[in-house]
Amino acid sequence: MTNNAITVPLYRAAHGRTGDKGNRSNISVIAWHPALYAVLLEQVTEEAVTRHFAHRRPSAVRRYLLPQLGAMNFVLDDVLDGGVNDALNLDTHGKALSYWLLDLPVRIPTALQPLLAGDDHDVLITT
């Protein structure tokens, strides 16, 4: 079998930040390289993000694309238990949520492996 792809956490291919307004969270996913952006477009979809945040029961997840920035912006409705003044969470803003999304496993062609950030050994699966 040939090694043609590796599975890594999203944080090796992209960075991001969470913002909040009311009970809505937005999470940017910004590819470290345009070639990685093309791969993420296929995999970091509204469906994938909805599944990844299932425990927060989002009422809607929308993805907006900013190709010239190599970025996508996810908007997750009703995931903050009411938002900054209502939630019982210590992190009422949901500021940590970008790091929840950045743990999403993504499959990256081995040819693009040199473009990944971080530790070369930080790989979930090699196939």
Partner: protein, 457 residues
């Protein structure tokens, strides 16, 4: 024949929230002074110090003391730079007036006198505060009859840049506002400097997004960004605050104060550009609908990034209103378990609390194992098997209408010392009044805004 290049406008931001660093402004002001010396033009220093909860707390302070209700750190933030700003013609624009802009302006006037400075011309913006009983009918019409059933702490419209621009055009050296939309703090000076038409949507949108990049202070300069091994930031402890150069078409170059730590690069600017944005083609402010869907960033050199290609569309006919109202009590309690089977003992303690408080809805966190990633209902915690974490702090929280009910939780957490699992220590409890938020839209024309110049004391 070429059109002469208009004199540039430099805007520095020295605070991104209430509670930001009080020593941030010095290097920003030094940088603005240096830019003015090199390039001429105008300069402005902004402080953004308001958030939903901040304003409600300010309103409650004002009720207790009619001279209070502005940003508590105002004097600490402004005093170190007030003389240099006035001496170098750097205007100051801020929402640090919070619930009492007039009292904030009076404080600044006293500060100037104490510093031996000529009396500055200070403008006070009005129109955002909708908490007076006479405005209840407006809130009822647009937010519903629910406003009659709540105890209102604060009600404010997010107003725009025009009264700021008008105050600056009238010669104000310092503009003190309450609930102005954050990016409007930068658009106001840009409108006054370049004299754009109020429907020059592309220019308004460009300067609005410059304000958006500035409004969170260090967040565009490597603050809230560092992640060792992935996003390394040099000298984070001395992270600088941002300075933007806004051009005659609303484009901007973002940089940071000289002699500070941190960084301004494509990655830091992209993160902040999308921060708290929903649809990138329709970022709504009181001034314009900004569209960054085709915007571009270009690195120009060390710590210098240009933002171009922001488009604008006509602003909406409404203004956002936030009403903060009293929402009962938040009760919290924490206790630590460490060593062998720490998480098992913390989970048992949570089970004890559930059985002792059947009428309370408890949120449970196992700090050190699973906490902030979880939801209030505990779905993630229930789905996650116990780990072998050896240092776990149990946190429980509940919301109660009545204080007595909230105190039951803090008493039960304290009782875990002797009645709970083995080895629990470090109990802390807290009771906090809760504020809840109600949001809606009101017609723009129902919120008359303006400014007045503070008379010399």
């Amino acid at each position: 024949m070429t059109t002469p290049t208009p004199a540039p406008l430099f805007i520095g931001c020295a605070a991104g929230f209430s509670g930001d660093r009080v020593d941030a402004a010095g290097p920003v002001v030094d940088t603005l002074i240096a830019r003015l010396a090199e390039r001429g033009g105008s300069a402005c220093l902004i402080f953004e110090t308001l958030a939903e909860r901040t304003l409600a707390l300010a309103q409650l302070r004002r009720r207790a003391d009619p001279q209070a209700g502005y940003e508590p750190l105002l004097e600490l933030m402004l005093r170190p730079v007030l003389a240099r700003c006035l001496q170098h013609g750097i205007r100051i624009v801020s929402n640090f007036g919070a619930a009492n802009p007039r009292a904030a302006a009076q404080l600044i006037q006293r500060m100037a006198r104490e510093l031996g400075l000529p009396t500055p011309r200070i403008a006070v913006i009005h129109g955002d505060d909708l908490s007076a009983p006479t405005q209840r009918a407006l809130l009822r019409t647009h937010l519903g009859e629910q406003v009659d059933a709540i105890r209102i702490a604060s009600a404010n419209a997010y107003i725009g840049a025009e009264p700021i621009a008008a105050a600056l055009r009238a010669g104000a050296q310092i503009v003190v506002a309450g609930r102005v939309a954050d990016p409007s703090l930068a658009l106001g000076p840009a409108l006054a400097h370049y004299g754009w038409r109020s429907d020059d949507w592309d220019a308004l949108a460009g300067a609005t997004m410059a304000g958006h990049l500035l409004e969170c202070g260090a967040q565009v300069c490597g603050g809230y960004f560092a992640d060792p091994g992935y996003k390394d930031v040099l000298d984070l402890a001395q992270v600088g605050f941002p300075v933007a150069e806004i051009d005659a078409h609303g484009g901007c170059i973002i940089s940071k104060a000289e002699g500070t730590g941190g960084l301004v690069n494509l990655a830091s600017v992209k993160e902040q550009l999308l921060y708290e944005v929903h649809d990138p083609a329709a970022y709504l402010t009181p001034d314009v609908v900004a569209d960054i869907s085709a915007a571009e960033l270009e690195p120009l050199g060390p710590n210098r990034v240009a933002l171009r290609g922001v488009r604008g569309h006509a602003r909406t006919g409404t203004l956002k209103v936030n009403v903060c109202h009293e929402g009962g009590w938040l009760a919290e309690g924490e206790i630590s378990y460490a060593g062998p089977r720490a998480e098992a003992r913390a989970r048992l303690a949570a089970e004890v609390l559930r059985q002792r408080l059947p009428a309370h809805t408890l949120r449970v966190d196992l700090i050190g194992a699973l906490s902030v990633m979880g939801d209030d209902s505990g779905a993630l915690l229930q789905a996650t098997p116990a780990s072998t974490a050896r240092d776990v702090r149990l946190r429980v929280a509940t919301a109660c209408a009545e204080r007595a009910q909230a105190e039951q939780l803090t008493r039960e957490v304290t009782a875990l010392y002797t009645c709970g699992p083995a080895g629990g220590g470090g109990v802390r409890t807290a009771l906090t009044p809760r504020l809840n938020t109600l949001s809606g839209l009101v017609p723009r024309e129902a919120v008359p805004v303006g400014f007045e110049l503070l008379e010399a004391a």
